[in-house]
Amino acid sequence: MPLDRRIVDEFVGVLGAADVLSDPIKTRTYECDGLTGYRVVPELVLLPRTAEAVAECVKVCARHGVPFVARGAGTGLSGGALPVADGVVIGLNRLNRVLEVDPENRRAVLEPGVTNLEITAAASPFGLYYAPDPSSQQVCTIGGNVAENSGGAHCLKYGFTTNHVLSIEVVLPDGSLVTLGSDSAEQSGPDLRGVFLGSEGTLGITTKITVRLLRTPETMRTLLADFPSVAAGGQVVSDIVSAGIVPAAVEMMDALAIEAAEGATGAGYSLDTPAALVVELDGTAEECDDQFEQVKAICDRHGCTRLHIAGSPEERAAIWRGRKAAFAAVGRISPDYIVQDGVVPRTRLSEVLDKIAEMADDAGLRVANVFHAGDGNLHPLVLYSEADGEVERAEELSSGIAELCVAMGGSLSGEHGIGTDKACSMPTMFGEDDLEAFHRVRTAFDPGDICNPGKLFPTPRLCGERPGKYRPHPLEEQGAIERL
């Protein structure tokens, strides 16, 4: 049902006609996020320029029961920003100012549309940086990062978005503007900021964020090591951690992923190795050198067949380029593929990888593996060919893998979120009582069910649809961002 003309006029009254898009050609741009399999054209797209304007828009929505969906850069991979048909999308890109960098207190105050990388750009003149580093960091917004509790390769040591956000100003679904969190690590009362973080846009709209900044490490050491098996690589990760070393990042790739990445980038990976690890250490020069020697010894002990140490910033960049290109590059070795995102306890990595290989064999499909080995976050890529009629088998295999992760004591998602994509799998991880309690929290924030309704929780409508195959995000196609 189209929105009542009078309601549209109210939005225009708040924002002015230029910032209210209703032309279907324009609103179509907002029909999906990075999960392109689901598409819904919104009635209206609102583009406020201030927090107060966001609050006024939400008040109009609350008054008339109009559902709204917040949107940052639209890079989400789980369909979190998927519009609601007779609702509005509130785009936050115009709230994109870095309001303050406070080097003495090591923090920055940001509007939600600031991109992740812009934070570090603003902080670096002071020798500071913002730690969480999703691969989409060039374009994804801090508002989206807060909603998704985004992570990145360096989260093993430094934690996720939730560990770096001191306070947020949010517009609640009734249009009130409140601050959650505080200026220090101390808080008064339950941690509402912590509940809001990672709530995938279902509890309100973030309009201002205060983040912690870290000092740029004195030293960084990066190595690339080949191993005779994925299991040997996994053992190296365990031994590094058992030795009391917390690397800044530990990433693993299997033969298929290496083949694709090396073919695409020529970054210097070995083509004949079953597994490769990228290990990065950072810290003070003394500690870093000391730990680096220990890591080399551990690699040797597990039959490392080649150890390449980045000798210059360019070599380090090349190692990371190969790693980060792996996803897009898989397109070179398979016409179609699905990206899965599950987590297992680190010690079960090789067991789960064996299992995935078995499941892939049974399905007659190939799976390439690229993952954050340090925190057990897998990104299996299920390769298939739509033309050969393999779609259904591939989808089954992909959700089978996500559910396998849960069965192994892990999680349905490590970084891409539940959104629209995996809402139907939530009951494999959570019981009815758990989901019901989540729902109570949700309704405490949003009694009218107007804030990004239908996401995160399984609904009959969602579970009747299918997400469809992986399609590159438009920005990936342009080569602007890479998937990790």
Binding site: S184, A185, D191, S242, G244, N377, G409, S411, S413, A444
Partner: protein, 418 residues
């Protein structure tokens, strides 16, 4: 102190907790070891107390994953001993205070020690919880993996909830390696000079784990470093150079003085802060000793005070305050504080003020855009436990109403907010 409740229930399994909550009509207090029983708002009358100290033990420790799940009534001290055998620890330095605080109690009080500068508080270390709600619903969130974005993070809601939203029965924690070596460097001086040192320190690459000023005559800045056996001394040298004249290495025991101040009982002599030569023969290697196995206090004696400060009662009222780090020194200077432990990197301080000054102190903190809450105080002190309510209060009330519609759990803890 809270009044004695007519009934005390002491369940030993999550299911018994659920039964106790379901079968006990009326209002319930939730208690751990009682070490923070007099913190925050005073409990109203309750019909029964649910004592969680029977709910103990490690459920699963996975050394390779560096995670552990425990029953919520487990004293952190006991847990520290067990995981310490694998040279792992919960990176929360309440372990230095062997008073028996439970994992559930630490989470429910949102507590943290000096190393929050790097490791954060319980909110940053907890990765999963199981909680019994007022209607007996058993809720699990999170899990055993550190990277996890499925569902709402209920552990955060329980963090700082003081028993008002549910009973924590199981907690899954992320562990860290026990450092190969630690060292503490001290430099004496007033708060202002400590703040100057800290400003330079946080800009240096030295990565301090804790950076705390403790009051005394003239007061002392304590900086803790962690690192490798053969490398730490190099950084200690760099640190001493940075702190300049008078900087010297001190023994770990200096942190007991800090803990006593945090508890509002500077019990070591009049100020406990003057020269204490015997402490200053620095040792770098502390290994698992650092990890809570050191037991220097009797089990708490009902007042909750153990350790070196066991006999002293808090004088005045202990306030926990937080503000942007650079605002903290001037804020503290404004308060009529008699004892102070100030995290100059975190912006979190514990101060003792006269009971009559509590309301005024809350206002001063709020004026600096900070947060404050009342901790230990004498039984007869009638002072507000919390500063002005946060703007998010309506949503907090709504959550309370959804999870505990009849207001059964820990009534009064957030008085006057709720």
């Amino acid at each position: 102190m809270t009044r004695a409740a007519p009934t005390t229930l002491r369940p030993t399994t999550p299911k018994e907790v659920r039964d106790a909550v379901l079968d006990t009509p009326g209002r319930l207090a939730i208690a751990g070891a009682g070490t923070a029983a007099d913190w925050a708002g005073r409990l109203d009358d309750v019909d029964a107390t649910l004592d969680t100290t029977g709910l103990t033990g490690v459920i699963a420790h996975n050394p390779g994953d560096m995670t552990v799940s425990v029953h919520a009534g487990t004293p952190l001290r006991d847990l520290a001993g067990e995981i310490g055998e694998h040279r792992q620890r919960l990176a929360l330095d309440a372990a230095r205070i062997p008073r028996g605080a439970t994992v559930g109690g630490l989470l429910a009080t949102a507590d943290a020690g000096p190393s929050a500068l790097v490791y954060g508080s319980m909110r940053d270390l907890v990765i999963g919880t199981t909680t019994v709600l007022a209607d007996g619903t058993m809720v699990r969130s999170g899990g055993h993996v550190i990277k996890n974005v499925a569902g709402y993070d209920m552990a955060k809601l329980l963090h700082g909830s003081y028993g008002t939203l549910g009973v924590l029965v199981e907690v899954v924690l992320r562990l860290h390696p026990v450092p190969k070596a630690t060292a503490t460097v001290a430099v004496d001086g007033p708060l202002t000079s400590a703040a100057e040192h800290t400003a330079r320190l946080v800009q240096s690459p030295l990565e301090p784990i804790a950076c705390e000023w403790i009051s005394g005559d003239p007061g002392r800045l304590l900086v803790r470093l962690e690192g490798g056996e053969s490398t730490l001394h190099l950084r200690v040298d760099r640190l001493m150079e940075l702190l300049g004249d008078g900087a010297h290495e001190v023994d770990d025991a200096v942190w007991d003085e800090h803990a006593a101040l945090v508890a509002g009982v500077p019990g070591l002599g009049d100020n406990g802060l003057g020269d204490n030569g015997s402490r200053d023969n620095g040792s770098r290697d502390n290994g698992s000793r650092d990890n809570g196995s050191r037991d220097n206090g009797s089990r708490d004696n009902g007042t909750g005070a153990g350790g070196p400060a066991a006999d002293a009662a808090p004088e005045g009222a202990v306030l926990r305050i937080g503000a942007a780090p650079t605002r903290l020194p001037s804020l503290i200077a404004e308060l009529p504080a008699t004892a102070v432990a100030a995290g100059l990197g975190t912006g979190v301080a514990t101060v003792t003020v006269p009971g009559a000054a509590v309301a005024e102190a809350h206002d001063a903190v709020a004026a600096a855009n900070g947060t404050s809450s009342l901790r230990s105080r004498s039984a007869d002190l009638d002072a507000p436990a919390w500063g002005p309510p946060p703007s998010g209060l309506p949503v907090l009330k709504a959550i309370k109403h959804k999870l505990d519609p009849d207001g059964r759990l820990s009534p009064g803890r957030f008085h006057p907010w709720m």
